[in-house]
């Protein structure tokens, strides 16, 4: 029951506690936040199980952790730790450039990133229980998350305008399973929750994504790379709940100190983009 909440990246038990006390509905345990993964380079892998256990012991809210795209053994390891959610994530270095994990093989639920509706439906077709936008993690720049949310929500809206005769072609164009395309065209939403991730740095960013249709937010580097993580974490939770209330978002945005510095997309170049990982 994560909807309407904020899932925060944390690298140790202390940060996890700060996140929980600020009102996070879950934490994502990882060794380095995406901003540092970008800076340090090298291969980014699943976190050390010891660190994950320490975080599980420190908080009562759900604990998530990331596996590399296609790395089903990392997923087996996380499941053996009784992790609450597995994020098959483009933020880590992909282990398989062709195949994602067969998520139906697991009891633990998976969340997966997507840049558009077709990608979201392919992940659901592989068993994902939750979708998040990819955005561009570790940049503090919300522009890609906005693009992905608009792609997903716009894609859903378009499907609802099609006649049943047109859905097979839509499924072909989306490269998505026809059954899921039919289901989305009927219900007007994905069969799983859709969250936003990748670039949220301020309370206004969080509320923007909710107004665009996200059902909750993941915040990575944006909190613990800012001046005052505790206060910023609380403010982002507040803005996610009261996303239509500009007065409350304004109040939450005061006295936060500096946000994380942020990176322009043009400065990343194609090489630096994580969202292109996975298909």
């Amino acid at each position: 029951m994560l909807k309407g909440g904020v899932i925060m990246d944390v690298v140790d038990a202390d940060q996890a506690k700060i996140a929980e006390d600020a009102g996070a509905c879950a934490v994502m345990a990882l060794e380095r936040v995406p901003a540092d993964i970008r800076k340090d380079g090298g291969v980014a892998r699943m976190s050390n199980p010891k660190m994950i256990k320490e975080i599980q012991d420190a908080v009562s809210i759900p604990v998530m952790a990331k596996v590399r795209i296609g790395h089903f053994v990392e997923a087996q390891v996380l499941q053996s730790l009784s992790i609450d959610f597995i994020d098959e994530s483009e933020v880590l270095t992909p282990a398989d450039e062709t195949n994602h994990v067969d998520k139906f093989e697991f009891d633990a639920p998976f969340v997966c990133g997507a840049t558009n509706l077709g990608e979201a439906l392919r992940r659901i077709g592989e068993g994902a229980a939750m979708i998040r936008s990819k955005g561009e993690a570790g940049t503090g720049n919300v522009v890609e998350a906005v693009r992905h949310m608009r792609e997903i929500v716009g894609g859903i809206k378009r499907l609802t305008t099609l006649s049943p005769t047109e859905l097979p072609t839509a499924a072909k164009d989306l490269q998505a399973p026809l059954e899921l395309v039919r289901e989305v065209a009927n219900s007007g939403w994905l069969p799983v929750p859709v969250f936003c991730a990748g670039g949220i740095a301020t309370p206004a960013d969080a509320a923007l994504m909710m107004q665009l249709g996200a059902e909750g937010n993941f915040v990575g580097s944006g909190i613990f790379k800012s001046d005052d993580p505790e206060r910023r974490a609380k403010a982002i939770v507040e803005a996610t709940t009261h996303f239509n209330d500009a007065d409350r978002i304004a109040a939450a945005s005061e006295q936060l100190g500096e946000a994380m510095p942020g990176i322009e997309m043009a400065a990343l170049g194609e090489e630096g983009r994580l969202a292109g990982r996975g298909w």
């Binding site: 029951m1 909807k3 909440g5 009102g23 879950a26 759900p62 009784s82 939770v237 709940t241 009261h242």
Partner: protein, 185 residues
Amino acid sequence: MKSPRIGVLAVQGGFQRHVEHLSEAGADPVEVRLPADLDGLDGLILPGGESTTIVMGIENAGLAPAILAHHEAGKSVLGTCAGMIVAGREHLGLIDITTKRNAFGRQLASFEDDIEVEGIVEGKIRAVFIRAPWVESTGEGVEVLAEVRNHPVAVRQGNVTALSFHPELTPDNRIHSWFVKSCGT
């Protein structure tokens, strides 16, 4: 008869599905984020979610006095999953119970069961338990309506009912229909 106006606490958690079920059951649902949203409500649902997050959200928005006033006016309250915890003695104190959080285990230990909920639905109903709490202790006047693995998972005291499970996650609308009827004006 006019449709009962029923609020769903929308601080965090699974409020949307409750809203849909309430509409289907003939109520006029209202998302509750601020104290003023409780004005004129006939009933209130405290949904599932993360209880730590919801408790903090209630505090930040100053919702507790308005919820207590709703309760004291004798209006109905239904708490589900985290909402059971929030309604209990350790938080809002709407019902004289203590609860154990995540009592059945982590996400992986989530399960479904067909159970009877005495006095609320006829026959069995599918109950979805996700990181669910159970009732650890009950005060005087609290009726136990259902048990799973020898722990109470549905309780009632006066106008307050609390369930460990998520009635909004199955298409079966009987619990919401019962609640809407009990809020009838």
